[in-house]
């Protein structure tokens, strides 16, 4: 008679206690994002031969099993970068929509319509100072609105740039964390039968955070570490990573500024351009380089350029007529060649367009007549009012059609973005549900496990007690 029963009881106590701990940990993390449930895999210990028979020697914890599935992780990362991309796009598009005061009755379209209609009214009453004042008031509202819209879009662009730079800080921090987690996972594998599941969960969370910023591809190594790629370019290999940074490039001939994401190894010569295809950073780069860039030279749709082109064309068309006209008090002599709209310096754009200050001081100087001294001549007013139906205004459209189609384009873009956002969100939710059904904690299951391990623990205690009693009986036999 030996102590084998006691040993069996002891091993059973340890194994069931381990199972209770794992179950408790599952219950504790039922609401922890990214947590993958674990189960204890028990195994029978090696048998011994006694009395020509093989006897079991108890139980041991073979390993902790988790339920992560790389397929779901990969698909969720892919959808996350798309969700972030569309979410960021739709956020900025709805902000632009607010800036444009659309849809509403006080948008630029309504003001422009009113502006041309004032010239139409003046074509019948060019002598009316009240109407001239009224025109200046409407024109002032128009220039203020164009200035506000252009400047606000420019502010948005600056904000996007800051966000892009901040995103690169986040990316570098996440890459550093992932590299560090790779190292820790390697160590954990060396020191135990399996790697730390907590570290793997944490790394999966970091990878999802990284996916929200830009689309990444993951390569797994045999040692449990991973590599990270962006559009085929390696950013991280096991515990070694490259930083990323934002470079602002300036086109010397047009002055256009664009942001480029670069992989940086510390020296300028080793910089490589990264071209993410989705994610929040991709969205911000696209917004900065195309949508909100008033000097955009790409073939994409630029909201800022659309507004700017509109303002420039409006100023050029109106000025081309007022330049040849005369005001109410002009006398014979050289043509005063007055512009109606002016800008800062030589160029007029949406952010600096304003009314010629001389006309504000003296509305009778607004040139509406083609002949000097003819106060009832309103040919210039009539010509300007006809710009509203001039199909050569911009892109073979008149100003009303151009602007309403421009608004429609933004609407369609927003609609497409929202549709894409909703569909990718739905896919992401479904994938998350499916993954959750695999890795998530079911409290009923855990309750059963809890009872199972508790009862087994109690039974193991009985083995120890019983063994103790038997040993006591044996020890007292000789007394």
């Amino acid at each position: 008679m030996g102590f084998s029963s006691l040993e069996i009881g002891k091993r059973a106590l340890i194994a069931q206690k381990f199972g209770l701990d794992i179950t408790g940990n599952n219950i504790a993390n039922v609401n922890t994002p990214g947590y993958s449930r674990r189960t204890t895999i028990l195994a029978e210990t090696d048998q011994t031969k006694q009395s020509n028979n093989y006897l079991g020697t108890g139980v041991i914890v073979q390993k902790i099993q988790n339920f992560r599935e790389e397929y779901y992780d990969k698909e969720i990362r892919n959808t996350l970068s798309n969700v972030s991309n569309y979410d960021n796009d739709s956020t900025y598009l709805s902000r632009v929509e607010t800036l444009l005061a659309e849809p509403g009755d006080t948008g630029i379209n309504e003001i422009v319509t009113n502006f041309f209609n004032k010239f139409e009214e003046l074509s019948v009453k060019p002598e009316s100072t009240a109407l001239r004042q009224n025109l200046l008031s409407i024109a002032s509202t128009l220039t203020d609105r164009l200035n506000y819209t252009a400047n606000s879009i420019s502010d948005l662009r600056d904000e996007v740039k800051k966000k892009a730079i901040s995103s690169t800080d986040n990316i570098n921090s996440l890459l550093s964390d992932i590299a560090s987690l790779n190292t820790q996972i390697l160590k954990s594998r060396n020191n135990s039968t399996s790697e730390s599941q907590s570290l793997i969960d944490e790394r999966a969370n970091r990878l999802e955070d990284l996916s929200k910023l830009m689309d990444i591809k993951i390569g797994s190594n045999d040692d449990g570490s991973i590599n990270v790629f962006v559009n085929g370019i390696n950013l991280l290999t096991s515990n070694v990573f490259s930083s990323v940074k934002i470079d602002e490039q300036v086109n010397q001939s047009t002055g256009e500024r664009t942001l480029v994401l670069m992989k940086s190894d510390g020296t300028n010569s080793s910089n490589i351009e990264l071209s993410p295809q989705s994610g929040e950073l991709y969205s911000n780069l696209k917004l900065y380089n195309v949508s909100l860039d008033d000097l955009d030279s790409s073939t994409g749709f630029s909201i800022a350029k659309g507004i700017n082109d509109f303002a420039v064309s409006l100023a050029n068309k109106v000025n081309s007529f007022t330049k040849i006209g005369y005001g109410l008090n002009d006398v014979a002599g050289s043509n005063p060649q007055r512009d109606f709209f002016v800008g800062n310096g030589l160029t007029i754009n949406a952010s600096n367009i304003k009314i010629n200050p001389g006309l504000i001081i003296n509305p009778s100087d607004i040139p509406l007549s083609t002949q000097v001294g003819e106060t009832g001549n309103s040919e210039i007013a009539s010509l300007i009012s006809k710009i509203s139906s001039d199909n050569t205004f911009l892109n073979n459209q008149n100003p009303i059609d151009y602007y309403t189609n421009f608004i429609g384009k933004i609407g369609n873009l927003t609609k497409d973005t929202l549709n894409s956002l909703n569909s990718t969100k739905l896919i992401n939710q479904q994938l998350n549900s499916q993954r959750d059904s695999v890795i998530g904690v079911n409290l009923d299951e855990e309750a059963v496990n809890l009872i199972k391990f508790q009862k087994a623990f109690e039974a193991a205690s009985r083995i120890v007690n019983t063994s103790n009693d038997i040993l006591g009986t044996l020890v007292n036999l000789g007394r």
Partner: protein
Amino acid sequence: MRVTFNSPIKPYLNNLENIQNRKINEEMRISTGNRIQSLADDPSNLVDSKQLNSKIEKNNTFINNINESLNEMKLASESIDFFSNSMQKIRDLSIDSTQIGVQGNTVNMAVYIKGILDDMVKEANKDLNGKFLFSGTKTLANSIDNTPPSTNNQPYELIEGDKTSENPSGLQVIFKGNNNDRTMNKDNYSTEVINVSSNKLFGNNLEALQSVIGLYNLLYYKSDGIARTKDDYLSSDDFQKLNNYQKVIADNVNSLNVVNSDFGAKINRLELIQSQYDSDNIRLKEIKSIKSDTDVAKTAMNLKLEDTALSYSLQVGSNLIRNTLFDFLS
């Protein structure tokens, strides 16, 4: 599929958010009357609606302009009537003077005619809020050239110039405006002249008014330039001249009647166009309403549906945290 503790919670929260968003949208549609609450709601109809709105506003401007022009034209028409009646009166007087000329005492008749001429010049200077009606495109006083022999900033002026054997009174009507047309846009492509030029009113170089002055001179002065007395009778030469003046004045009366008739037709045309614009706007507003306004019945139904969905959804939510095995373990 394995059901976990969090399985029903996330989809529930997403669906609840969707229902609330849809309900708020329907509420906004009801409260604002606008079906399109954001550019993304219906870009195509939004574009149509905005273009229709611009068209309606443009039509309103044309309607206002036609109103303004009609006011001016009706005032001008009254003046043309006055000119026509005055010239007819002068013509009648000239015919009367044929009889009086035989009996002598034509001076009173001449004075009467000059009075009518004064009134005509005054009427020709008529303005609407400071805008002269019959001076072409020189519509304001500051555009009227006031250099001698002119003495004021009005387009027509009866002045007393040098006396000659041809013009013993020295009277002369001068015109300081121009004969240019003033036009208004009837639509984006066609225009209408809204004024009557001096040439059309009184002939080239104010021929009709100069004839009135000639008539005055004839009745007031003898051929030697000395004022007539009551015993001075008209000579046969004078009668010949009188006939000539009568003919010019009669022609001018006819011409003024034609001008006024044309003007009346133009006023009728513009009134017709104005009423056409009114009808167009009614139709355009209907189309715009279909494209962008809230269908109240449909939206109210949708709102009720969403409200019901929200109520049941919240009821479900209250039972979402379901019992687990732990609730039954002692």
